[in-house]
Amino acid sequence: MSGADTAVRSGSAGTILLELLVPVLSFGGTLAGIFIRGLGFQFGIQYAAIGSVLGSCILAYLAWIRQKKDIVSLTTPIYAFIFFVVPSDFLPGIVLQLLFAAGLTVLLVRLKYRFGASDEPVPDATVLSESLRTYAERVRGLSSSLPPGSAERAGEVFIRFARGDYGDASREADLAVQLLGPAGGAEPLVRAFSIVSEQAAQMEQSLHLPERYLKFGPEYSSLLANPDPVPREEEEEYHTTLYNALLLLYAAAWNRAGADRDRLLACQDFALKLFTQ
């Protein structure tokens, strides 16, 4: 995913407040319970665990809003209910609550450092992401000059390739090349179809790097999602050529497609992986 799709990793003020509330409520509830009992008010110490229960719910929410989900943090409210629904004696109850509060705090730290910033946008599967939208806009002029049906074919090739049906993708791309033929203005797309056809057929047989393969010429560099200003390793260049071809097909399909946009959105996660910069 490009940097444009990742928000600043500082965390919003609201999220920071919620993160602080986890240890404050968890420990605070128990300490408040000890204090109130010390004043002479008698009540079941398990009620002091309300802070831990609220803290676990906040932790679960913080885990939910992250792009990468932490199942341990998500399930802490269940454990809070199991631990604290039963009445307990004073000392064991306090120890259990303090240990639970410490556990929530450790999980919060783990969540922050292993599961990404809370303000990374959770991809919305119903909306095209910014990097793909920007790229599609950049190559919109290409789509306006395409013969009818070629954009739909581009989408079909991309979807089949994303599903791992490399043989089908290769055959479909071959057919598209034949149908497009010498159509004026479609040369970049013809080249993209040819590259996908060649590499998909190669992948159907083996993953070995061929000695020769089709590439985009320098005249197409303005249309490529991953332009190539510096020399790459041969293998990296081979892969990047495929990614550029696939992204060009995706963008062409998106710019012309109507009903097929749902299917293209379903493959959006794969398209985003093809950006190398």
């Binding site: 993953l207 081979y238 892969h239 493959c267």
Partner: protein
């Protein structure tokens, strides 16, 4: 320990639990006649603490051994970067280097395997026949599933993970 053709292993955690409860039974039966009178069910229960995990391990290893030739036939070699949500359910073969190994002690190892195009978590629900370590070059057969079965990013549910010679890597691996 081999049962038939299946190499059965139990995790260190199971052994630790067995040792803990065995010591508990021994010490408490030494001090308490009440406990001694219950040994007729405690001792078999102790044995079951070892036997049941062994039996489960045998069953899962046997099942994976039977699945391996099926996956070998049907698996499609793919580059790791190509694996995505649209491939959920597909049987794949990937080759790469093990970047990290976790939870081997639970007989539920999780590997991060990387090739030149990317990396992906590989989860296994039993221990592999070979001892796979970090930096090993491996070949993985498995199916693409969601990380938490119904939600989450795509990961590989591994049926077989084998070490490959490092010499094989120079044979044109992409």
């Amino acid at each position: 320990m081999k049962i038939g053709k299946v190499d059965v292993k139990i995790s260190i955690l199971v052994i630790a639990v067995f040792v803990f409860f065995a010591l508990l039974v021994v010490v408490s039966s030494f001090y308490s006649p009440d406990v001694r009178s219950q040994l007729y069910w405690m001792l078999p229960a102790l044995v079951l603490l070892l036997v049941m995990p062994m039996a489960l391990n045998y069953l899962s290893r046997k099942e994976y051994a039977e699945l391996e030739p099926v996956y070998e036939r049907e698996a499609r070699p793919v580059r790791i970067r190509m694996i995505n949500e649209s491939m959920i359910g597909k049987i794949v073969k990937i080759e790469g280097v093990v970047e990290s190994v976790r939870f081997q002690f639970l007989n539920r190892p999780q590997f991060i395997v990387a090739d030149r195009t990317g990396e992906i978590p590989v989860k296994m629900f039993t221990n592999p026949p070979e001892d796979i370590r970090k930096d090993d070059l491996v070949e993985v057969l498995g199916s693409v599933i969601r990380r938490y079965m119904v939600v989450g990013d795509p990961v590989v549910n591994c049926v077989s993970i084998r070490r490959r010679d490092k010499d094989a890597r120079s044979g044109g691996k992409s």
